[in-house]
Symmetry: C2
Subunit: 326 residues, 2 copies
């Protein structure tokens, strides 16, 4: 491994000088700078991040904590974050929390022990004390937080829109899925939809689904049609569940969207490939990730931030599990 000392020796200068040209700090005469640069390229030297990190007490690493990368909503987020962060020269220390306090604590520990300059967390359970006194900026993603900077989509509005659109298209006996009680964004969608449904001239029922997983989704779908065979509109808690319901409905021979309309939530890439293609409420996941990264980077660079809370719009993506209106 070639060190700064090797470079200094080769260039016939001191390590201090090499450090200066490396970081473009302080004065360095042009010709010595060039000597140093030559030595650097000659030796193919590149500074040791760990040593730098030790002295400066900060690395170029950013912590990223997601509930579960296996949930199709998160890869988009992660990608948005990575693209932004990478373009600014930072790298990601990544972990899945499973919304498990123990794992989360382990990662927070890792992050501090490795001198990350900041972190992004998409945890949705609401117990913010865990994040106190961390010593580096934290951005919450996919949920609001009064104290912490955060980036999120307007879930409540999304819920409202979902309900409005399905009502507008003629469903009269709507089933609203509740989604995991501890996942805040899910509950906001739910509340939004509930709000609109309550005020509208339709019948509706709430079904208490408690998870998002692939496995469970099939279960909810079955249960839904057993309990509410006559429903003619479903507002699902996310696209996975919506896909499972669509599947079950087709299985039962229901015609979509004529007999039954379905609206999902998230707009994961796969939703477009379903048949009929899923109508859904889109959350701009990639952009959310990107915005979160930008926001964090501002804190890291100690720029002044105007809005510590960034809300991104949700939009109704009309595809073919809802009827057309004019």
């Amino acid at each position: 491994m070639v060190t700064i000392r090797d470079v200094a020796k080769h260039a016939g200068v001191s390590v201090a000088t090499v450090s200066r040209v490396l970081n473009s700090t302080g004065y360095v005469r042009e010709d010595t700078r060039e000597k140093v640069m030559q030595a650097i390229t000659l030796l193919n030297y590149s500074p040791n991040e760990v040593a730098r990190s030790l002295y400066k007490r900060e690395s170029r690493l950013i912590g990223l904590l997601l509930p579960d990368i296996t949930n199709p909503f998160f890869p988009q987020l992660a990608r948005g974050i990575e693209d932004e962060v990478h373009s600014q020269g930072f790298r990601l220390l990544f972990g899945n929390s499973d919304e498990d306090l123990k794992k989360e604590a382990a990662y927070l520990h890792t992050f501090t022990q490795n001198h990350v300059v900041g972190m992004i967390t998409a945890r949705t359970i609401s117990d913010d004390e865990t994040y106190e006194g961390l010593g580096f900026p934290v951005v919450f993603l996919d949920r609001t937080s009064p104290q912490y900077p955060s980036v999120y989509a307007d879930g409540r509005e999304g819920g409202r829109i979902a309900a409005q659109e399905i009502i507008k298209r003629g469903s009269k006996q709507i089933t609203l899925l509740k989604g995991p009680p501890n996942v805040k964004p899910a509950q906001e969608r739910f509340q939004g939809a509930l709000e609109t449904l309550s005020g509208a001239n339709v019948d509706f029922q709430v079904m208490n689904t408690t998870s998002f997983s692939f496995h469970e989704a099939k279960k909810w779908a079955k249960e839904l049609f057993e309990k509410h065979a006559n429903t003619d509109g479903v507002i699902a808690s996310n696209d996975i569940v919506a896909a499972a319901i669509l599947r079950e409905a087709l299985q039962l021979g229901k015609s979509i969207p004529d007999e039954l309309q379905i609206v999902g939530f998230d707009d994961i890439p796969q939703s477009e490939l379903l048949f009929p293609a899923l109508s859904t409420i889109r959350q701009p996941a990639y952009e959310m990730g990107k915005e979160a990264a930008k926001l964090l980077l501002k804190y890291i660079k100690k720029e002044i931030v105007q809005n510590k809370h960034i809300e991104l719009p949700v939009t109704f993506i009309e595809r073919n599990t809802t009827r057309k209106v004019d």
Copy 2:
């Protein structure tokens, strides 16, 4: 930040002693060990990974390079890796390469600069020189490599099985999708299927699809039925493309699987939620990730490894885009 010196002072010993109890190296009398432990818990001390990493020239970080986490096959891999690695006390430095040599080089650089103890790469383009002289073990995932340890599924066999199963179920005019030419596993599947198809009593055509992306998938699907309207069996290069084809076929009013059979590849979680549920060749992605991590960890711990190449079996998952046989 509380350092080893603080602990030493509190315990009335030297930093060397604290280090010894921390690492359980060398001799330390039981009662001094206890004094130290008390000081540690009292001060809530935990050692600085960066300092440790600098001296030892190795961290507890593992590099993970995936082509694109947004491709639904990779989150499973990533999760398998993370679970294993995390359980053994290691953490992940993660990046997407987009199969781009520049980005890849940037990450290799990051990994070395941050003293990773090893890395896993799922890159599929075959230019192994990039990985020479890295100074830490590398495990290739999702593809073979003669020199490097690697974990992969038997793609060729998968291709054969796909072809056998679709033939067995009566398709006579089969369309085989080629998949991205630079993605090795895709080409192996292709070759396997081609091999079986060539030797069988069926007509078939090869369609040259060059990517896996969601966006392109729809295009291939359209193109497929324009070019080969009379095809009665499709072997897709992965489940995304298969989903797009299923979608297009249903759109065109084809009855699945009676008129047209479709076999995918990968068995991503979503495939089960399609209607009809997708028959596919399963690659055990999670297990592959886990095995890759285990293999790497063996190298890291300098254990003797029996097989540097681990091949996992692929299996035909019979669902409803293929007909039943008895």
